[in-house]
């Protein structure tokens, strides 16, 4: 089923020619997506899978099929880069790198909604530090 992913205005504005999305992902990640057998190993081992709108294997499928709505997906931002998928993928595809590439595609176009400075003191007390570290990492690449 074509999954409904809430659209983000800015992200939706990013334009790709046919085949450009795969090309850019492959360029940034250094991974060959066409080697994927769609076996679902990455999804079944993913600790965040229950909250993702697209599963990691769907993300790969969407990129191959040139569906740029994949960039709107929560999945890229939920990925905690734990590398479980990369470790167990029978095709030796580093899915974590692919997630990072997708984030970079967005971030390099200066689309970033996280603003650590604007978090209130109260929020800072509540949010675990690791979340900030993770956020910084995603922004740095």
């Amino acid at each position: 089923m074509h999954k409904k992913i809430p659209k983000n205005k800015e992200i939706s504005k990013i334009i790709f020619k046919k085949g450009e999305l795969v090309k850019e992902v492959e360029e940034i990640s250094g991974e060959n997506l066409f080697g994927c057998y769609q076996c679902g190993t990455c999804s079944s081992g993913c600790p965040y899978i229950d909250d993702m709108d697209l599963t990691p294997d769907e993300v790969i499928r969407y990129i191959i099929l040139d569906r740029k709505e994949v960039l709107n997906s929560k999945t890229l931002w939920l990925c905690s880069a734990c590398f479980t998928c990369a470790e167990r993928c029978p095709r030796d595809i580093n899915i974590t790198k692919i997630m990072e590439a997708l984030r970079q595609i967005i971030l390099r176009r200066k689309i970033d909604y996280s603003n650590t400075r604007k978090t209130t003191k109260k929020e800072r007390e509540k949010i675990p530090q690791i979340a900030f570290v993770s956020l910084f990492r995603k922004n740095i690449g």
């Binding site: 057998y37 769609q38 076996c39 190993t41 899978i49 599963t55 769907e58 029978p90 030796d92």
Partner: protein
């Protein structure tokens, strides 16, 4: 084939005489020097050590390393041709991995039941010297003159004296983890691998034996000798066949996320085979290891370690999909309440009848779930939680299962690399041996004179291994073909027992648990003892084992006061085991027709497994009937006939060409007939070959030149077999050759007629638009360079006309071809977008999977998986249907949505069927074919190259479509099979033939028309020209009995099934009816 007749008697079960003490092993000498000097045996031992004898040398023709099913087949094929074979195995028995299996797919034949007769045949063959518990140390020399050093480890048990009584294991205090049972059970330090082991003699495991002597004390025949030494044997041979087999991956390091070794209820598939086996640790009951309870749910994870670019091996293990299906079906059939899930990526049901077998498994209720679990957790109750993404339903699920089976990859035997070094041949990075040329010469290793058979050059199923083993036997004959041959075996002269009163011996088989669980064997024995003329009754664990055969011989020859003159064996089918027992009779000097079998396994324990009482009663009845018949049996003789030393090869494609060349290498003449104007078959139309991209013409052209040059091969193109008459060894055929009729004579026939693409009958608009092509057409276009316009979007549709209601089978080669052609199109038109629509990607085995993965990555090919019930639709342009842009609508199974792909070139991977010649050959040669027009072999597993009719053999795509590697292996294998009768020179006919009573025969010719083998001719009587009578050709008659039933005058009787012999059987059965009524 008629039963074999060997010239020389040699009992191979005696192993090698223990005569030499040239080599010493430390613990033994320590034992001698230290303590036990006084004892008599020790002094003997020391004397033996002091007198250093010369090393034993065996002069043979072929050395075979490894005695699994491949090694055994190669040995029998070579030895049947008259050459002397030495076969070694590193374990104490022969049989290899096949005997560990419970059943075999896709026929569910019992594995040991099909392998055991071969094992016994091998051990009894006069031309085969069997050395078990031995390894090769060194190989010197070159093709034609190899010198090998064999290290034969001591078994510390004298095989001549050992009776296999099992007393020793009861007292042995040492438990050792059993390798045969895949580490799920233990054996003792003195052991036998399994009940039907050949040779049937115990072995002391030197490493684990404590030397307590308990076994020695209880051994009645005094077979145990701690002083026996290992010995080095020198073997001189002309060729070597390597068949060291495979191992399965133990995923305790690689893929440890599935918990193997950590969680008790996670097993490898091989371990499950042992659990399912009737002589395994649970005697065939499905129990999980943690609590020995029956599991409610069982799961299989496929591709554990296979198809893995990391944490495993890159190749596909080729057999796992089918063995998982087999194991699951067997369990489900007998335990419908057990839930079964198989987690897979692609189900590779690629072979003959495999797809139907898989469909049947789905009907049984086995759930196939497309999704590969990432890891497994153990619960408190020792069950396991498997989390996976069901990729066809887009859901993340968790299943709780009681027992988890891992279909782990097939890996080369661990010491393969060592063996490669010893032999001087090359192995690949995984440890599989390399071929000299994969597509051209797959059996030849990288060194001349050394040939490969079975799984050592890549994973393989049993029929492919067996074909390749036969092929290796053909190749191995090349270097030694001019050596002296020794055919047959002289049995002792036959005793004349016709004047004696019948004295019957009855042997009743337990068949392990196969019969004994369902039939009260003891009761059958007691009832049989009461029958008239029965002087000896015994029930035995395995009637087909060598020790029972010895017992039968002994009761005939040396039983003191009453020598038996008729034998009944109550066991399984005479079709599989009759010949074995008949040989046994002959060895004891008794005519082999004074024998009868009662099939109490198939007819009692199998069909009445739910009612032991009635099964037992029926067994008693059957044995009584057999005893009644055997009393009336008479000794019969067999007609001997000679063999015309040439072969007719039908079909001039790669199969036929390779067969003819292999025959020529063995020095045998052949006629190669081809209906087209040129040799080469389908390869002539193709551009390059999967999976090595070798150009077809580089393979076929040199072969055609070789064939045309070879003086032993007579090539006839534009030729067809018009008529044939005769029988094995003596065929007379008429060949329609370029409009002329030509008569030729030959001894055997190889059918290599190949296959063709089916007629799609307009499916997928094939024929409507000129840009819809079949794979063959696209390849011809690439070859001739006639594709000019660059296509933007190419859609390849796999399984066109395959796996549907009309043709339920998989074409085996289509997936590979589609990948290869996708690559060819990409190379020709860089930038073209290529889509492959597939159902399951069946690129099985070594090389193919790697090729597939490389092509996907290098050419960015997009694959779409579609379900069988929703076939892709081709939509033509309304305005320009013949040449316009098309659209393909396909339901993507994984995305669960319909895609619409524009296409300016569509390539259909069309299903295949047998060649057009199938029908006429079927009738002319009287050989069967299946619905797809592919010929049916004699046995799907162990006789893939033979027809049930003697003298006719099968290879290549006429059997089933297959890639070129398997085709060549089969072609050379068929050549080996067809060469056997020719190299034997003479054969014997059937003894149980029809016999005409000339007085009663009216010469009405009814029988002449009805005989399926053309064995009857009506001729005038020799002394009375006016009286016509039917005359039976005893060499042709198969003893089918059709004429007997048809004769209106009751003038024909069939020997061995005479009316009076059958009447007493019926009387015996009916008498029982009254008793129990």
């Amino acid at each position: 084939m008629p039963s074999k007749n060997y010239n020389q008697k040699m009992d191979h079960n005696q192993g090698i005489p223990l005569e030499d003490d040239y080599f010493l092993v430390e613990p033994e000498i320590a034992l001698l020097e230290d303590k036990v000097l006084e004892s008599e045996t020790t002094i003997q031992g020391i004397t033996q050590i002091i007198s250093k004898k010369k090393k034993r040398t065996i002069d043979a023709d072929v050395l075979i390393i490894g005695a699994g099913i491949s090694g055994m087949q190669a040995a029998l094929d070579t030895a049947d041709k008259g050459y002397k074979v030495v076969i070694i195995d590193k374990t104490s028995t022969i049989g290899g991995s096949m005997v560990k299996l419970d059943k075999t797919f896709p026929t569910n034949d019992c594995s040991i039941c099909t392998a055991a007769p071969k094992m016994v045949e091998l051990s009894r063959h006069p031309n085969i010297e069997l050395i078990t518990y031995a390894e090769i140390n060194k190989l010197e020399g070159k093709k034609g003159e190899f010198k090998a050093q064999i290290w034969k480890k001591s078994k510390y048990v004298d095989p001549d004296k050992c009776t296999g009584c099992d007393d020793c294991t009861e007292v042995c205090p040492v438990d050792v983890v059993s390798d045969f049972d895949e580490k799920i059970s233990t054996r003792k330090a003195i052991y036998i691998e399994f009940p039907q082991a050949v040779p049937i003699a115990y072995t002391i495991d030197h490493k684990n034996c404590t030397g307590c002597g308990a076994c020695d004390r209880v051994c009645e025949p005094k077979a145990i000798s701690f002083l026996e030494k290992s010995e080095e044997i020198e073997v001189e041979v002309g060729a070597v066949i390597v068949a060291t087999g495979f191992e399965v991956l133990e995923p305790s390091e690689l893929r440890k996320e599935y918990g193997y070794g950590k969680y008790e209820n996670v097993l490898t598939a091989m371990q499950l085979e042992r659990i399912l086996s009737s002589f395994g640790p649970t005697a065939g009951k499905v129990l999980r290891p943690s609590d020995y309870k029956k599991p409610n749910t069982i799961g299989w994870i496929q591709c554990v370690g296979s198809r893995s670019l990391q944490e495993g091996f890159p190749y596909c293990s080729r057999v796992c999909c089918m063995y998982a299906t087999k194991e699951a079906s067997i369990i489900k059939e007998s335990n419908p309440e057990i839930d079964i899930n198989i987690y897979y990526m692609d189900i590779r049901a690629y072979g003959k009848d495999f797809q139907q077998y898989y469909d049947h498994a789905k009907e049984l209720g086995i759930k196939y779930i497309r999704g590969r679990p990432s890891n497994v957790y153990e619960n408190n109750d020792k069950s396991l939680t498997v989390k996976y993404r069901d990729t066809l339903h887009g859901k993340i699920n968790e299943d709780k299962i009681d027992m988890l089976i891992l279909s782990t990859s097939i890996i080369p035997a661990k010491d393969n690399k060592k063996i490669a070094k010893i032999l001087g041949i090359e192995a690949d990075e995984n440890g599989f041996f390399l071929q000299k040329s994969l597509l051209d010469n797959p059996i030849q290793s990288t060194k001349d004179g050394i040939y490969l058979a079975g799984c050592i050059q890549g994973p393989k199923d049993i029929p492919d291994s067996v074909s390749m083993a036969s092929g290796a036997a053909a190749k191995a004959v090349g270097p030694i073909k001019d050596r002296k041959r020794n055919i047959g075996r002289n049995f002792p002269p036959e005793m004349n027992v016709s004047h004696e009163k019948p004295s019957i011996g009855v042997f009743i088989c337990h068949c392990g648990k196969n019969i004994a669980s369902y039939v009260d064997v003891e009761k059958v024995t007691q009832e049989t003892k009461k029958l008239p003329n029965v002087d000896y009754v015994e029930h035995v664990m395995f009637a087909c084992s060598e020790d029972t055969c010895k017992k039968i011989r002994d009761t005939i020859t040396i039983l003191p006061d009453k020598k038996l003159n008729r034998i009944v064996v109550a066991a399984c089918s005479p079709r599989t085991h009759g010949g074995l027992f008949q040989d046994t009779l002959q060895e004891a000097g008794l005519n082999k027709y004074l024998f009868e079998m009662a099939n109490i396994r198939n007819h009692c324990s199998w069909v009445h497994s739910d009612d032991k009482d009635k099964a037992t009663k029926k067994a008693i009845d059957l044995v009584r009937a057999a005893v009644a018949k055997v009393s009336l049996l008479e000794p019969l003789s067999e007609e001997e006939f000679s063999i015309i030393p040439s072969v007719l090869v039908i079909g001039g494609g790669i199969s036929g060409i390779k067969s003819a060349l292999a025959l020529a290498d063995m020095g045998i003449k052949s006629y190669l007939i081809e209906k087209e104007t040129k040799l080469g078959g389908r390869l002539k139309h193709l551009y390059s070959m999967f999976p090595s991209d070798t150009k077809s013409k580089e393979i076929i052209d040199p072969l055609i030149r070789q064939v045309n040059k070879n003086k032993l091969i007579q090539v006839m193109t534009e030729a067809e077999l018009a008529d044939i008459d005769g029988f094995i060894g003596n065929y007379k055929g008429t060949i329609q050759h370029k409009g002329k009729k030509k008569k030729i004579e030959f001894g055997t026939i190889i059918v290599a007629t190949g296959f063709k693409e089916i007629d799609l009958e307009g499916q997928y608009h094939y024929g409507d638009n000129k840009n819809i092509l079949t794979q063959t057409e696209i390849e011809e276009n690439i070859k001739k360079d006639t594709l000019k316009k660059k296509p933007k979007n190419v859609v390849i549709v796999n399984c066109a006309g395959a796996m549907d209601e009309k043709r339920p089978y998989c074409c085996r080669i289509g997936c590979g071809v589609s990948i290869k052609n996708a690559k060819l199109i990409s190379q020709k038109f860089p930038g073209s977008k290529i889509w492959i629509l597939y159902r399951d990607m069946r690129v099985f085995g070594k090389e193919e999977e790697e090729y597939y993965s490389d092509v996907l990555k290098n050419y960015h090919i997009t694959t779409v998986r579609y379900p069988g019930e929703k076939k892709p639709k081709v939509i033509l342009d309304k305005n320009n249907p013949k040449d316009g842009l098309m659209n393909v609508k396909v339901y993507d199974d994984i995305l669960e949505e319909e895609l619409e792909i524009p296409a300016d070139l569509i390539v259909l991977t069309v299903n295949t069927e047998g060649e057009i010649l199938t029908d006429s050959l079927k009738n002319m040669l009287k050989i069967p074919a299946d619905e797809g027009g592919f010929f049916l072999e004699a046995h799907a597993k162990i006789r893939p190259l033979d027809f049930a009719t003697d003298g006719i053999y099968l290879c290549g795509a006429a059997h089933y479509p297959k890639n070129i590697v398997d085709t060549i292996a089969q072609a050379e294998g068929a050549a080996s099979r067809a060469a056997i009768p020719i190299m034997q020179g003479k054969m014997k006919g059937e003894g149980q033939v029809a016999e005409v009573d000339e007085e009663l025969c009216s010469g009405c010719s009814t029988c002449e028309g009805i005989c399926p083998y053309n064995a009857i001719e009506v001729k005038p009587k020799s002394d009375n020209k006016d009286h016509f009578i039917a005359i039976v050709n005893r060499a042709l008659c198969k003893g089918c009995g059709a004429c007997v039933g048809a004769c209106p005058s009751g003038a024909i009787e069939q020997k061995g099934f005479k009316t009076k012999q059958l009447r007493v059987m019926l009387e015996a059965l009916l008498r029982n009816e009254e008793k129990y009524a």
